[in-house]
Amino acid sequence: MDVDIEDILAELNTDSTAVDYSGNPLSDGISTNASTLYNNTSSSFPIADGKHATPSDKLNHIRSNTSPSISAEHDYSSFITLWRNERCAPELLPYPHHLMTRMIMRIQDQLERLEIISMDFMGQSSTTTTTTTNKPVNNNNMLPLLCMEAELERIKFVIRSYIRCRLSKIDKFSLYLRQINEQREEDHDDQDNDSLMPLEHILSKDEMVYYQRHSEMILKLFNETTLKHLPPELQAINDTTGTISMIDEPDWNKFVFIKVTGPTDKSFNNDPLLRNGSNGKYFYEVIIPELEEDVELFIGSIYVMRYSVIKNLLLDGKVILI
């Protein structure tokens, strides 16, 4: 209960030279360390038996895996980017396991802290009279409290919106998810096919549970009302043999608005995909396959493009959806 995450992280960060607490150059509104956001596989928590890691496990792991992107501010701005990406993208993006765990831990921490503070308040205010306005007496002391509460509401809102967006996409694409899961199981022996991410990376544990239970419910409803009355060949819900496939795939060609932010660590020279244009500006080059067209995406510009063309750049954090 006495564990204060921020203090521990602050201690860790003073050892590494990467984080500067006064005016952190890494955090403007948009830049994020998104490459670690979507690639959870690179550093996995040592979780045994599928149970959640205890807080001390996680802290130990953080100790050994320090990176500058763990600061609260960074996490929050990364999360906002994730939220915006998820809302705009036509498909379900990978779940940011570590980020969410950290944020939830921080929230729980903050709630406890606020409770302690407000209990102190209760002790104080019982002695003040309340016939005049409370303002001058309490407000100076209450200011941090106000700010913390307001901030908490904001974080809760974003997380809530994010999760609900994902749940609605899970509902929409539940047949499709099932299909890729089955494909993945079939290809299990084929080690070369790594392009499909396992479902555990894309969904959180809760989301998996939701997905399974919900699809069960819906299938039952459909079975009872219509499917069982049909001839056996048509009784499948994921029938692809008819004239139209019943599985809804995400629309890979949906047009999205993107902003090109460039490599997340701002090292323009190290990015192999980045080219230098004639006017000195950097750009990425992408190809629209159907039109056989090359497009140059300059850093800092806004474009409207098909999702499939920029998907890889998105997962690397080099463009964001707006």
Binding site: E73, C147, V256
Partner: protein
């Protein structure tokens, strides 16, 4: 659905405001919170200390803990607005939101019909918020600023409308367009470009001719008359069946 339909296509204006409120802005605090700190990371169970300690989740508390009266510092917009509501700070109006700044932008807009001036991406929202909640912090009279903002809005909308001609099925480049403007246009543009893409694809299928050459950079904003087409129920029935 878990997410209401109106939120599935685009962000609501309140959400756009939320996004904008996460940006930073400069303020003059009216109180001092900076104290000599005795030691880092030491827990104090003394309730007085706890209450003056700022422990923020989304920002590091450094700026807040070290506010000194009238020494300018930078915080996020939502926090600045909260402090302002409590009369604990004055907001420093950004450079571009002055009569001079806006006049420069207007000139650029008038001179360059094909481009948009380099207004910050949150200009509409920030200006509206500050007019409402920080009216006394402005040096210039607000009605003048409002007039200019209105002019800018109209000019840009006009350009956007004209740029509609350039909607195509490959891509568009829209530098310097503000977030609220993009948000309004999004459902319309996405749908139109989608249809164009489908038409183009079917043309390719049937005629088997080479596709025509397309210009690459289209440096224009597109635009729309902004009745947002939220209830275009051409997306009709839910997705399980396509007809």
């Amino acid at each position: 659905m878990s997410l209401p339909r109106r939120l599935q296509e685009t962000f609501s204006p309140e959400e756009v405001q939320f996004i904008v409120e996460n940006q930073k802005i400069k303020i003059f605090p009216r109180i001092t919170t900076s104290k000599r700190r005795s030691g880092n990371g030491s827990h104090s169970s003394n309730s007085d200390d706890d209450m003056s300690r700022w422990r923020m989740l989304t920002m590091d508390g450094h700026e807040l803990e070290n506010m000194i009266v009238m020494k300018s510092t930078e915080v996020t917009l939502w926090l600045a607005l909260l402090l302002k509501q409590q009369s604990k700070c004055n907001i420093i109006i950004p450079e571009w939101l002055t009569v001079k700044g806006l006049d420069l932008m207007l000139q650029y807009e008038k001179r360059n019909i094909q481009r948009f001036s380099a207004l910050p991406w949150d200009w509409l929202v920030v200006s509206e918020i500050l007019f409402k909640q920080a009216a006394d912090d402005f040096n210039d009279p607000i009605y003048e600023l409002r007039n200019r903002i209105q002019d800018l809005k109209e000019i840009r909308q006009m350009k956007v409308l004209q740029g509609l001609k350039n909607l195509n099925e490959s891509h568009m480049q829209l530098d310097n367009l503000g977030l609220l403007e993009i948000n309004e246009l999004r459902p319309f543009i996405v749908e139109v470009m989608d249809k164009l893409r489908q038409i183009h694809a079917s043309v390719l299928d049937t005629t088997e001719t080479e596709p025509q050459d397309y210009d690459d950079d289209k440096d224009i904003g597109m635009g729309t008359s902004i009745s947002s087409n939220r209830d275009t129920s051409s997306s009709g029935l839910p997705n399980a069946m396509s007809f």
